[in-house]
Amino acid sequence: MAIRKIMCACGSGLGSSLIVHMNTEEVVKKLGHSEIEVDHTTISDINPTAADLFVVGADLGDFIANIPEDRKVVLSNILDKAELEEKLKAKLG
């Protein structure tokens, strides 16, 4: 499935998800997929139709257990751009 929209999420959808959003945007551009839309929100708003790929920190991994494995990126360190790049690369191909 082509990924058109990536949604980053955290508890209140204000602080850390915005940081991950900025990092994701940077990485996605670097990987040559600048057409992909990136956004951030609260985990209350996560549902499978909201986006094609979800990015959260490991502390919320259990929270999005209902999202299939190939449509989520769970970061063990949400600030680590190298980890983000590696995991996004695997999903975006």
Partner: protein, 487 residues
């Protein structure tokens, strides 16, 4: 004159002012025109959404809760919630808050460059909330206006934006294992305190990290703020309405009384038709059961916070990246100070244990306040799940980093007590300004509120501005005067 009036009107409309702030930020980043238009409009809409959420929260549940609590317990009950108090304050101090926010971010960059606290505070919603609180205190209680308000407020905001990450960094660098990132969250003094308490257990021979034990993860669903606020507020409403009903609330107004007569009957109890009409079935065809009313009111509260958060997300979503872009250019070596969940991935068990322990601390604190209240009247600070979750969890991570599992439990328990007593001490400052029923929950807001809310009592006008500017300049002077540590 017409043109001047028009310009003044634009600058005194907070929604448009924050939009302009985003516009400048986007232009400075040389964004394409469509991004500039999109970002500016989203920011303005965000502010309007926030205002809508604020009035829904007030009329939908918060005001009713305050009246009922007072009627049921003859005491002031306070639900600490940053969003609720900010949203209310923005109605009156929107323009000054927006300008203080912009100035505070600029002065943050100056401090990051010229003091020994090289932090860029990137948690935009807390910047906005703090700007708002400073505007209320200096403008409302301190009677500063115009340029002097903006300068004094900007200085205080710029200062706390580096000071808070600086005292957190003592422990936060042990959490992350690096000195390259910092924590930017205005619960800072509480985390520092949890770290200090946690350190008491640092030399425990049987020390164990929270991450070495097996801990049930099912409580993670409380991370969903809509769910956790709903649950706590439904419980609070059920208790308060239940006690009020037992005291005869439903018998004050006989059935079929019209609104004007009902208002007269309710007035002696401090109750109003506007807020309680639906509960008391005044002027309505249908009969609402009080339990149903309590449940929907509790969830209305969560709904109000949800709307406010959506508005805040739209506002800061454009401003923070611009701020970061500018700061990166001006202060290349600066450390980003980020929102508290960045700490959570380092110790997921400590997050849950910290929350529970802090929440228990909040309940114990409430019982102590209740005891104090029999001697001196104080506001009762109810333990809100959101501050205990976000701040308590972060306190747990800090406690764990300093003193393992025991440090985590003790540190976050102490934090729970702290965020009960600090708002209580801070409450008179806000009550005097007309904010009842809610206050800031996180620790830095409280201590800033206590310190500067009381400063305005003995320093006004020029002296107050001077104090704010001097405390801002101190870290810069220190940097140039004090001997540097040998690296």
């Amino acid at each position: 004159m017409a043109v001047l009036d028009f310009i003044v009107n634009i600058l005194s409309t907070p929604a448009i002012l924050v939009g302009l702030l985003a516009l400048v930020g986007l232009c400075l980043q040389h964004k394409p025109i469509e991004d500039v238009v999109k970002g500016t409009i989203k920011t303005i809409v965000g502010f309007l959404v926030l205002s809508a959420g604020a009035s829904f929260l007030q009329t939908g549940s918060l005001l009713a809760f305050g009246e009922l609590f007072n009627y049921a317990f003859n005491m002031q009950g306070v639900v600490p919630n940053n969003e609720a108090v900010v949203a209310d304050a923005l109605q009156n101090f929107g323009t000054s808050s927006a300008i203080i926010m912009a100035l505070g971010m600029a002065l943050n960059i100056v401090l990051a460059r010229f003091s020994r606290m090289p932090y860029i505070f990137l948690t935009g919603h807390h910047t906005l909330y703090m700007a708002c609180m400073i505007a209320v205190i200096l403008g409302g209680a301190g009677h500063l206006e115009g340029v002097s308000l903006y300068i004094a407020g900007g200085c205080l905001l710029g200062l706390i934006m580096v000071l808070s990450p600086a005292y957190c960094q003592v422990t936060f660098r042990k959490v992350t294992g690096t000195d390259g990132v910092a924590l930017g969250h205005f619960g800072g003094i509480g985390y520092w305190f949890a770290g200090v308490i946690g350190k008491l257990f640092a030399n425990d021979p049987k020390r164990k990290s929270t991450e070495e034990i097996n801990f049930p993860k099912r409580l993670v669903f409380l991370r969903d703020t809509t769910v956790s606020i709903s649950i706590t507020m439904m419980v609070f409403f059920l208790i308060v309405v239940g006690v009020a009903v037992a005291k005869g609330l439903l018998n004050i107004v006989p059935a079929g009384t019209d609104a004007a007569a009902a208002a007269e009957l309710l007035a002696p109890y401090g109750l109003t038709v506007g807020n309680l009409g639906a509960l008391l079935n005044i002027g309505t065809e249908t009969k609402t059961n009080w339990i149903v009313w309590a449940l929907t009111s509790g969830m209305s509260f969560a709904g109000g916070v949800y709307i406010i958060l959506s508005g805040v997300r739209l506002i800061i979503g454009e401003i923070v990246p611009a701020f970061k872009g500018i700061a990166d250019k001006l202060v290349p070596g600066a450390k980003p100070a980020l929102d508290c969940p960045v700490a959570f991935t380092y110790a997921p068990n400590a997050v849950i244990i910290g929350f529970l322990s802090s929440f228990i601390g909040g309940i114990v604190g409430l019982l102590i306040l209740n005891g104090i209240n029999t001697a001196i009247p104080v506001a009762l600070i109810l333990p809100g799940v959101v501050p205990h979750f976000f701040c308590g969890a972060t306190a747990g991570v800090f406690g764990n980093a300093e003193g393992g599992l025991k440090g985590c439990i003790a540190g976050s328990f102490a934090h729970g007590l702290l965020i009960t007593f600090l708002p209580m001490i801070c409450m008179p400052v806000f009550s005097a300004l007309g904010y009842v029923g809610t206050t800031f929950s996180d620790a830095d807001f409280s201590w800033m509120g206590i310190v500067f809310g009381n400063t305005v009592n003995f320093a006004q006008g020029g002296l107050l501005v001077a104090i704010c500017v001097i405390v801002y300049l101190l870290p810069i002077i220190y940097n140039f005067v004090a001997p540097k540590k040998q690296a």
